[in-house]
Symmetry: C2
């Protein structure tokens, strides 16, 4: 199978690396920035770099993976012309497959790897879940096959479910990362080493995937420890935005504790 | 050095295990529930179990570690009588050392391991930071020595700093655990496998300890991706508490992004 990579950013770079290691042929790398296309294509013997969006006149592929920012997708869809019968899939968790519907004479789909990518950080593709959707059986089959080449966990998923997964990911990753930033800022203000919380955070993550997180919730909010809650809120008085966050998250923990009967079981 | 363990819960159980493996003598395990004291003392050859709080008439130790719930500390302090000159330290992140001030003829301190403990879960004490405070040089020295027996990271820390560490830990662990619970609930409602986000969460954690979390913040809030934010809020319309959380955390991310000059550097 030949796969063309449309994009030269973080996701595209990791796709190229993973597909090459899996022995997939990559004849073409596109970027609207020629230099970026050349750098990434330079990592693949025989791959052509291009900034042209008429893909009919370039080395062709069976599958075109669009690994560009969400905001750049509409313009690419407007301008690009793909060879007839090719499978064209975007890699976004947030965008509907229907965004590609106006592309003529191709089969469309979604190929969404549930991961955060940085160029400089190695990743193990076999452990990255890939969510696949196809507008036709042909597209679905091609993307499933491609997914299984990379990963041990390939899931067929429609756009509605993918959107819900994406919201859940925002809670599980974007929001938690923000809270680690807040924690780090609080440690720095207290002139404490920022790695002090690392073992505790890692243990908390491990637990959260071994047990339902709500059942292993700990802390003053969960215990209803009013004295500690008051002391913490007072300590945060000089940082009203963080005090507000503390209050809202405390209330959320207490609301869940009141509504979930299993909560009584845990100390 | 002889160390008596006051308590028989999660922290006490791990302390007994860690101290025994380090070759420390444990002559005594106290619990107000005799059966619990016996179970834990049963793991230590030669240790006596007790529910008596006159520790002068029991096998004595140089250090008494109070590993009982915060709420149970005042009553123990009120009732307990320790042998003259013993070092008595509580293990709480939230309580001041001064809570022990009314104990007569002993040296007081704090011995706070920065970790979350469950009896059934193995832990590597060498990687658990221990925060030590002593009301006297003798208490400080004894607790520092004991800390270094268990852990590679022993930090002298006064009560004010410990309180700030504790608030930071609430953000970094209790609040993030809650958000993983929310994410899991959203996945379950969408009938999606709950392990789908595990690789993404682990990668996010790793990044957060490699780089300052605010500088590697991603997601629609960070990007100012209004379309996705609106779509997510709409999707959460049937769960107003989670919609509210989403809104508050989004605003917090955006506030930080506006105020932190380094933010412009990251995509």
């Amino acid at each position: 199978m030949k796969v063309a990579i449309i994009g030269a950013g973080n996701v595209a770079t990791h796709l190229v690396k993973g597909l090459r290691e899996a022995g997939i042929d990559i004849p073409l790398v596109y970027s609207r920035t020629p230099a970026s296309a050349q750098i990434l294509a330079g990592q693949v013997p025989g791959a052509q770099a291009t900034d042209t969006t008429d893909f009919r006149i370039l080395p062709t592929a069976q599958v075109y993976l669009l690994a560009i920012p969400d905001g750049a997708l509409p313009k690419l869809v407007e301008n690009a012309v793909f060879p007839a019968g090719a499978v064209v899939a975007h890699t976004s968790g947030a965008q509907p497959m229907e965004l590609l519907a106006s592309l003529a004479v191709v089969e469309t789909g979604v190929f969404y790897p549930v991961q955060t990518f940085s160029k400089e950080k190695e990743l193990d593709w076999s452990r990255i879940p890939i969510c696949v959707e196809g507008a036709s059986p042909k597209a679905e089959e091609a993307l499933l096959t491609l997914g299984k080449v990379l990963s041990e966990q390939v899931v067929l998923m429609n756009g509605r479910a993918r959107k819900q997964l994406h919201v859940a990911a925002v809670f599980a990753c974007n929001f938690t990362n923000h809270l680690w930033g807040v924690a780090q800022e609080l440690l720095q203000k207290a002139e404490l080493p920022v790695n002090l919380l690392e073992p505790l955070v890692l243990e908390t993550v491990q637990k959260a995937f071994q047990f339902p997180p709500f059942t292993v919730q700990t802390g003053p909010a969960r215990r209803g420890d009013t004295n500690t809650l008051q002391a913490h809120l007072q300590l945060l008085q000089t940082q009203p935005p963080y005090q507000h966050l503390y209050q809202v998250l405390t209330e959320s923990i207490q609301r869940v504790a009141e509504n979930e009967p299993f909560f009584g079981k845990q100390a």
